[in-house]
Symmetry: C2
Subunit: 209 residues, 2 copies
DNA sequence: TAATATACGGAACTTGGTTCCGCTTGCCAA
DNA sequence: TTGGCAAGCGGAACCAAGTTCCGTATATTA
């Protein structure tokens, strides 16, 4: 399965033959660029049209040919898994950045939760797309918890420290609640999960003293 | 939604204009024949290849053109629902017939359960295909219980009366167990649900005195 | 700078759903 | 019985999406 953002596998490339440990056959720069572009494009496409979005649409968004998708991600599941990991990573890393660039910690938290909701769209599709290979899904889920709960917790901590929200809110619990808001009434036009999540986050806020 | 096996709807056909209640515009004989053939063919195709079997395959099995399928069942869900009702009906009606034609009540029960398992394939597909219109699914489910549990109960009763199985087995519970056997490990080549069901039914049997 | 492996793009092919229309056939009235 | 005709049929044609393949372009290395 495609394993991005980790060291390249043990492929025995056209190594020098020196050490028996394979030298990392670094991919061509354009290939790496395209892979990243595809990950972004796919994530956006999933949010916009669901995980069943046509391959061609993703290719068009990324500005590449369909062949390029298949070279990097032989199956749709490969692509979805890669996007998932990519998103978890991006989401986790976005925490500190948002904290630095937002006016207040609570604003940073709100924006971070927005990213998290985007991410959940992919996650739900993933669960459907990976009915078969549930082992892969399990390990991804663990990864997701490891990376995201601490990120959320630190945002909560910052907001609490700034006196914007009450201390003691559990990150895991909050993320679970957001997740639940995003599942219920999926596809119902009367239900806007994002708005409900907004209310939830607004509700954390303490009245200004 | 296609409503087979009930009186034709209130279509205002080219009536004589006498009563305001519409006269039943009975369908042409070949149309009824084709509809029945399609129901059978679709049921067989679902068992053989799952509910995602191509429309063309079903048409070929039934010996009709694809246009005929679309005329009778505009959407795949229509077809699946119709097959479901048809199967419930056929399954319920098969009980007494099997009882009459089998060597023993227990044999009849075993064969009936076989039909029931075939039917479950459709049922599972239905649940997936009807994510949207869950109301329709609910009412079908009720219909399913009303018709099938008594049928199963009477077979159980006959077998018990013949001294082949212990009395007191609950039909609903047995059907639930069969259903569960058919869900677990779906798609796993190492798991043959039908064999497991066979064991379950064989297990009902009392040692010959 | 030349040689070459790598990667790219997108046309072509495959598969499956959906529509449409000319032909056939069951039904009814005369 | 037969003629008219609307209901119904078959399947070709069309459309949408996935997948493969290969000629071309380019990053990399010598």
């Amino acid at each position: 399965m495609a394993d991005i953002d980790s060291a390249p596998g043990a492929g025995t490339g056209p190594g020098t033959g020196a050490g028996s440990a394979a030298a990392p056959p670094r991919k061509r720069a354009d290939a790496r660029r395209n892979e990243a572009a595809l990950l972004d494009a796919a994530a956006a496409a999933f949010v916009a049209s669901g995980v069943d979005v046509p391959v061609r649409d993703i290719a068009a968004r990324a500005g590449v040919g369909v062949g390029t998708i298949y070279r990097h991600f032989p199956t749709r599941a490969d692509l979805i898994v890669a996007v998932y990991r990519h998103q978890v990573e991006a989401c986790a890393e976005a925490g500190p950045a948002l904290l630095a660039s937002s006016s207040t910690p609570h604003a940073a938290l709100a924006r971070w939760i927005g990213l998290f909701v985007d991410f959940l769209v992919t996650k739900h599709g993933l669960a459907r797309a990976l009915q078969s290979d549930s082992a892969a899904f399990g390990s991804l889920h663990a990864y997701f918890l490891d990376r995201l709960v601490p990120a959320c917790a630190s945002l909560l901590g910052a907001a609490a420290a700034a006196g914007e929200i009450a201390p003691g809110t559990d990150a895991f619990e909050l993320m679970l609640a957001v997740g639940n808001l995003c599942i219920g009434g999926e596809g119902n036009p009367r239900y806007d999960a994002r708005r409900m999540v907004g209310l939830l986050i607004a509700g954390l806020r303490l009245e200004a003293a």
